[in-house]
């Protein structure tokens, strides 16, 4: 795999297992080394690390607790529900009643999950030519079908057509694959009340599907069972007692196997209502009560499998994209053949605001309307903790601007055992000058230890001036930039002859800053990449994924003086509690430098 542009991941302090109220977990987390106190080195490759590392832009910051907040440790609140296809804002009340998917006409293709468009079947048009965005330009004449303009799937392939070009969701819920009608929940209830319909209803639910016609579909069986159980309860509304016989569950356990162990103290939410009336209910005995005999003869399906072969079956990924199909009984509503797939109503999406879990302050809050991108509150970590830019010192720097992910350093692999130098540029976003202390292990953890030397582990960065007057005094700023660039050029040339970069004004000497700017400081880190050779006899004969990746864990401690805000929370943050003025932030981060040749 091609070499990567250098990157930085930050570990949110919240995943320090001590801050989690984990009682029994500590030992295990120590075992895998993902546990990170200052003294122990953090291993980026430990399996748990992937769950605690974040790019800077994913992190928020609580101004009151003066602490980083990651997606894991914020409390979210939903501001808006909307359909990602028609961008319709769904009121939360509808959400309760109509579920988590768009109930208008927004569907995804069950084959390729591209968007489906409503097209007229009579004048079968090519959707890519006719279909309008958002299905608004409905074709003239019915019947209609859902067609995919990417893979050309059409709902007619599973025998589904619609009478109206709108309200597809409602129409679809009444249709089985193959086009046979299906009763909605309400209709079914009405039928149940009216016994004369029973037989007809049963048959109607049965047809259009292989297997016995007796089969209840998932939703019906559930409904029947529920009403059966409820009917069995002496007084369904009496909250206490509940489904009395089921309360046996509370005591069931394979004691016969004597596999009992521990008792958990702590109240059960059912304690108060455990009034036991054993035997108040009997078993379900017939279909109307939800009893469903299994039909184990699947020879028909096997024959179909044989005839249709691999192409006739749906891949597991397709199946997992399918919404639960209440209309089918077998395989608990899971389908197997492509002919059983159904159009996928778009899952709704949400806009969410975020709170600090500790002080409950809102740290991110988007405007409610779907179309707007403004935020009322947006406290991102990037404007509170220094950002780290990495660039190789001896290579020609392409300085990947964040806007274009494609631009980056030319993908050069690191040579094993050959010292390489990287320039770490720390930029201070806040308006006080900060003191940065870096701690990195001399050897990277893992099977292949690369040597790491941070030449200047301790330095100060001047305060940030307002971003805008920087932008305004463009010429000077640009001038400064150009100078720096020329300087770099010069250094680069030096750098090329004979790998190491030692010259007059910028010595590679320990404890010395490489370069300093208005609100940034760049230092040099020297790495000696490990030799990725696998000793034979190890049970693993090959590199694991990313083991050729040179990632150095680095513990960053940022200290600064801030005017005292009279709230405890702020002072408590950091290790030393005595100085109210003093603020401190400490966290692990991972610098990905590049891949090592192997």
């Amino acid at each position: 795999m091609a070499a990567i542009t250098p990157y930085t991941y930050i570990q949110c302090p919240c995943s320090d297992s001590s801050t989690l109220g984990r009682s029994s977990d500590t030992n295990s987390s120590r075992a895998d080394g993902a546990d990170d106190d200052d003294d122990r080195t953090f291993d980026p490759r430990a399996p748990r690390s992937n769950y605690s590392l974040y790019p800077l832009e994913y992190l928020l910051y609580c101004e009151d607790c003066h602490q980083i907040r990651c997606p894991r440790c914020v409390a979210e609140e939903i501001v808006t529900y909307y359909c990602p296809n028609c961008l319709f804002e769904v009121p939360s009340s509808n959400l309760k009643s109509e579920g988590n998917r768009c109930t208008r006409s927004c569907f995804q293709c069950p084959i390729c999950i591209g968007p489906l468009a409503v097209t007229s079947v009579e004048t079968k048009p090519d959707p890519s030519l006719l279909a309008a965005p958002d299905n608004t330009a409905a074709p003239q004449s019915g019947p209609y079908a859902l067609t995919c303009s990417y893979c050309n799937w059409s709902s007619t392939e599973v025998g589904i057509k619609f009478d109206k070009p709108n309200g597809i969701h409602a129409q679809l819920s009444k249709l089985r694959n193959g086009g046979t009608a299906r009763l909605t929940a309400k209709e079914r209830k009405e039928r149940r009340r009216d016994p004369s319909y029973r037989s007809s209803a049963a048959t109607e639910q049965g047809d259009g599907r292989s297997g016995s016609d007796e089969k209840l579909d998932l939703e019906t069986q559930f409904a029947n069972l529920k009403s059966f159980y409820q009917s069995q309860l002496a007084d369904p509304n009496a909250s206490d007692g509940g489904l009395a016989a089921l309360s046996d569950l509370g005591f069931s356990s394979p004691t016969s196997l004597s596999r009992i162990m521990s008792i958990y103290t702590g109240g059960s939410l059912h304690d108060k209502k455990a009034k036991l009336r054993v035997g108040a209910i009997r078993e379900a005995l017939e279909v109307d009560e939800g009893l469903q005999l299994a039909d184990l003869d699947e020879s028909a399906a096997i024959a179909q499998l044989h005839s249709e072969g691999h192409d006739g079956t749906a891949s597991t990924s397709r199946l997992s994209d399918q919404p639960p199909n209440f209309g089918e009984a077998h395989l608990h509503g899971r389908s197997r053949f492509v002919s059983e797939l159904r159009p996928i109503p778009y899952l709704l999406r949400t806009k969410r605001s975020k709170r600090c879990p500790v002080c409950r302050h809102i740290i991110s809050k988007p405007e409610a309307k779907v179309q707007t991108t403004r935020f009322r509150i947006r406290l991102v970590a990037g404007s509170y903790i220094p950002s780290i830019a990495i660039r190789p010192l001896s290579l020609s720097s392409g300085s990947g601007t964040s806007a274009s992910g494609s631009a980056g350093i030319p993908g050069a692999l690191l040579e094993p055992l050959k010292p390489a130098h990287y320039l770490l540029t720390f930029t201070n976003p806040i308006f006080e000058s900060i003191k940065v202390t870096l701690g990195a292990p001399a050897k990277t953890p893992g099977r292949f230890a690369s040597k790491v030397t941070v030449l200047c582990p301790e330095f100060e960065i001047d305060a940030n001036t307002d971003v805008w007057d920087e932008a305004l005094k463009d010429p000077s700023g640009a001038g400064e930039l150009r100078d720096r660039e020329r300087e770099r050029e010069r250094r680069r040339h030096k750098g090329e002859e004979g790998g190491n970069v030692s010259n007059n004004n910028n010595q590679l000497e320990v404890g010395k800053i490489w370069e300093r700017g208005r609100n940034w400081v760049s230092i040099v880190v020297e790495v000696v990449p490990a030799w990725l050779r696998l000793e034979h006899g190890t049970e693993e004969q090959r590199l694991r994924e990313d083991e050729d990746l040179l990632e150095i864990p680095m513990f960053v401690r940022v200290e600064w003086e801030a005017e005292a805000v009279g709230d405890e929370v702020g002072a408590v943050v950091g290790r030393d509690k005595e100085a109210r003025e003093k603020r401190e932030l400490a966290y692990w981060c991972v610098l990905g430098l590049g891949r090592i040749r192997h």
């Binding site: 928020l60 468009a117 890519s128 991102v380 274009s404 494609s406």
Partner: protein, 197 residues
């Protein structure tokens, strides 16, 4: 194929600050609107000649303008990408519809865009294909090699990828600034400035 730096400057810099490479292919310039400060790199192709032939009142207001491609400010069209208006049958006849693009839109090298509209602060990676009449909202990131199928709608703050495109993530709160293209604008032109570190 093109020289590093032709003598008279690689770019034509307009008074509104657009930087148009001499090696870019703009067909039907009179139908191409540039908002200013937009960079068009070499070998970019824009089909301004494919104008709407039916002035439908239903679509995008009845203003009978002949704009085929409208591009906002600080857009960056990378080398070799292609912008062309989407076309379809409308009321029995075929017509092209305008392609509208907001501000700070980055179009990666080799990408082909036939969307109906692209919002602001959109990052389109390299070798991306955006199908006809796709609607892309703001702060959307489309990873390299993605194929956005026709008519797809991509809401704000989406990260999409795949063939066909599917939602794979959301742009985090801290990721908005990354869409800003002012700095990138400075790095190209006849006297480019280095990007700030």
């Amino acid at each position: 194929m093109s020289l590093r730096r032709p003598p008279r400057g690689e770019y034509i810099e307009t008074d509104t600050g657009n930087k148009v490479a001499r090696k870019a292919t703009l067909v039907g310039t009179q139908n191409i609107m540039l908002g200013g400060k937009t960079v068009i790199q070499p070998e970019v192709m824009i089909r301004g000649d494919l104008v709407r032939t039916i002035q439908a009142s239903s679509q995008s207001g009845a203003t009978p303008n002949s704009t085929a491609v409208a591009i906002g400010r600080y857009c960056f069209l990378s080398r070799g990408c292609c912008l062309r208006p989407p076309g379809r049958l409308y009321k029995g006849a075929f017509t092209y519809m305008p392609l509208r693009m907001g501000d700070h839109v980055f179009v990666g090298p080799g990408s082909v865009v036939q969307a109906a509209s692209i919002g602001s602060h959109v990052h389109i990676g390299a070798k991306v294909v955006i199908g006809e009449f796709a609607i892309i909202k703001d702060y959307v990131r489309i990873l390299d090699g993605t194929v956005v199928p026709p008519n797809m709608v991509i809401p704000n703050f989406s990260i999409v990828a795949g063939q066909p495109a599917r939602l794979i993530g959301e742009v985090p709160e801290g990721g908005h600034e990354a869409f800003e293209l002012r700095d990138l604008y400075k790095t190209v032109g006849n006297n480019p400035q280095p990007a700030p570190s």
